[in-house]
Amino acid sequence: MSAIQPDQATAAGLAGARRPVRRDPQTIDGTIVGDPSRRPELVLGDRDFHSVTNTICGWIEQKTPPWWIATFAVANALAAMATAAIIYLIITGVGVWGLNNPMSWGWAIVNFVWWVGIGHAGTLISAILCLFKQKWRVSINRFAEAMTIFAVICAGTFPGIHVGRVWMAWMLFPIPNSNLIWPNFRSPLLWDVFAVSTYFTVSLLFWYMGMIPDLATLRDRCMARIKQPVTIGPMWAPHPLPGFVKKATTVTLPLNRIGALVYGVLAMGWRMSSRHWVNYEKAYILLAGVATPLVLSVHTIVSFDFAVSILPGWHTTIFPPYFVAGAVFSGFAMVLTLLIPFRALYPGLRDFVTARTIENMCKIITLTGSMVGFAYISEFFIAWYGGNPFEQGAFVQRAFGQYWWAYWIMMLCNVISPQLFWIKWCRTNLVFIFFISIVVNIGMWFERFVITASLTYDFLPANWAYYSPTVIDIATYVGSLGIFMTLFLLFARFLPMLPISEVKNVMHQAHEHLHPHDDDEDKHMSSLKEGY
């Protein structure tokens, strides 16, 4: 499918973004500064509003890049694999998974918790960092929120298919039915249904609301192109048209009409009115206010699935904070896993996602990674100090039992690896950050596996068993990555990856009227007062 149509301005914007990047070992792109009184710029490249619009919209309007088609094909194949595995599961039964009697919650719950956790970074960036006025968040906000939504979709799949009789999954919700039975509201599993579905809905609403002004921008660009027919050459001709192409015709591309219609309907007639902006900004900050406790509650309630049971190794009060920290930890790692390749593939992104932004994310990974590591140690200490022999047994089994390898992979990936970001080289080298972000994701998957594997050594040693996944387990998990990537690539292709109006709002042009008499030297001080 060809693009909506790149015009001269878009092409110029995209090309302008490909200027040589300044390389400086100390400050990288000029944003890594040691002096805390100096706030680096959030948008680089001397951009004005128009060039920001051109670049961000240009990613959607350009021709579909070949790498996109190739990646999309791979992601689609993986998604198809997951679908096939799920269909096989539905028509056969959960016996196709490696579940056995003590380990009744295998990879399905591991994957569920892992995916939900990944989602947490998006809400943290869009809500909590918004309340803390961390303006660097704007460049990764939309990206991370999209990641949240797609991760929660993947997460929701697993408990949905784990119920066994999928066609009865609606009974999770309090829907009047002919059996006159309601869900058991005392069960943490039901709380989880409410928590995850609320989380998904609120994240989607927040994401959509943030996108309304940007959809209006895309709509207006399509409208402008409908009104001003464009000159295009034969299908094979590159854009912009080289001089030797003679057979240029002037047409209105039908995709502009489709774009104007789709973006137009979604933008709901937003017209950048200041009277609207006032309500919009209020709604945004209020939503950030409710999304903040929400994001903390979701993984808290997910942890109740474990902590409210009376199984040794699960029945601990440390689970809620430890799950939330772990969720943010893995979520930021996933944002970096996606962001670093996208930054290479979309050169213009480097002006918005600066080295400083990435460094900040690394710092959050170190912070939350340290919290997770502290929780691991606390658990062990409390197991010993509490004097409960079952609890002690569970923890000895965890570290030295049949799954000792999983435990030590977890410790290595989650406790040791984030500490490397104390070294400046580590948190400014993109290849290294990318590597660590994948290591952290692996580590967090193993954390959930280690917790779930507590089931394999329950109270009666006669029940103990070894759990290993089947091919279907693996295909569903790997395939869920495909579902995630498919959705993410569609997002990157058709929706604005960066919040255009929010990015403009952190540029100095948006704040000039507040300090009309600033000269260049004062600008720095005024930006400090503003809390950049």
Binding site: F49, H50, T53, P174, P176, N177, S178, L180, I181, W182, P183, F185, R186, P188, W191, F194, T198, T201, V202, L205, M209, P213, A216, T217, D220, R221, M223, A224, K227, G264, M268, G269, W270, R271, M272, S274, R275, H276, W277, V278, N279, E281, K282, A283, L286, L287, V290, A291, P293, L294, S297, I301, I500, S501, K504, N505, Q509, A510, E512, H513
Partner: protein
């Protein structure tokens, strides 16, 4: 030219070209900010500033009252909290009300000898529904207060207006404003620094 409406047998007013208002462009945010203050001081009421970003302090510069979105959210939050509490209590406690459909009667599920209902176990779902309904009410309220969705607007017909969502800044004064007068308002917008002043057809 007077037209006689033969069907209703009455005279209707001569058809005047109807106007939505006048729009003017401004060079940068400081300029439009000052112009907005002057429009406010001039006493206009039906007018608006269109900008690609929310301009800091524009609510005061335009003489707007505070946003009422928070009330929508409060209403949503209370509704969610109440529904969640009543739902859990009613459905868990086996309650029956004469006259209410059977499908809405409760069902007592015996698990672990726990009581059928306690407020503590109801807290997580109460919290979640509070958040869910506040979010819907906030966004719904924001759209309703803004009169959206509204897919048609006279300004959309103006080519220059399409650039507002990119980088242009526009003030539009509606013809409905009591102080509106085509030539005077035009002169006023010119005097406050507006350029590309255009009449907007309905």
């Amino acid at each position: 030219m007077a037209v006689i409406d033969t069907h209703n047998a009455r005279e209707i007013a001569p058809e005047e070209p109807s106007y939505y208002g006048i729009m003017a462009e401004f060079d940068d945010i400081p300029a439009i900010f000052e112009a907005a203050q002057k429009c406010r001081d001039h006493g206009f009421t039906k007018w608006d500033v269109y900008a690609p970003v929310p301009i800091h302090g524009i609510d005061e510069a335009m003489g707007m009252k505070g946003s009422k979105v928070a009330f929508c959210m409060g209403a949503g939050a209370l509704t969610g909290l109440t529904i969640a509490f009543l739902m859990q209590w009613w459905f868990s406690a086996g309650s029956k009300l004469p006259g209410l459909l059977d499908v809405f009667s409760g069902y007592e599920i015996i698990t672990h000898g726990k009581p059928f209902f306690a407020w503590e176990q109801a807290v997580p779902i109460m919290f979640e529904l509070t958040v869910l309904l506040s979010a819907f009410a906030t966004i719904g309220g924001m759209l309703a207060l803004n009169g959206l969705p509204r897919w048609y607007h006279p300004l959309f017909k103006k080519d220059r207006f399409l650039r507002v969502s990119d980088d242009r800044l526009v003030i539009a004064i509606e013809a409905k404003d009591p102080k509106f007068d085509q030539s005077e308002t035009k002169a006023f917008l010119e005097s406050v620094g507006g350029n590309h002043i255009e009449l907007v057809e309905e």
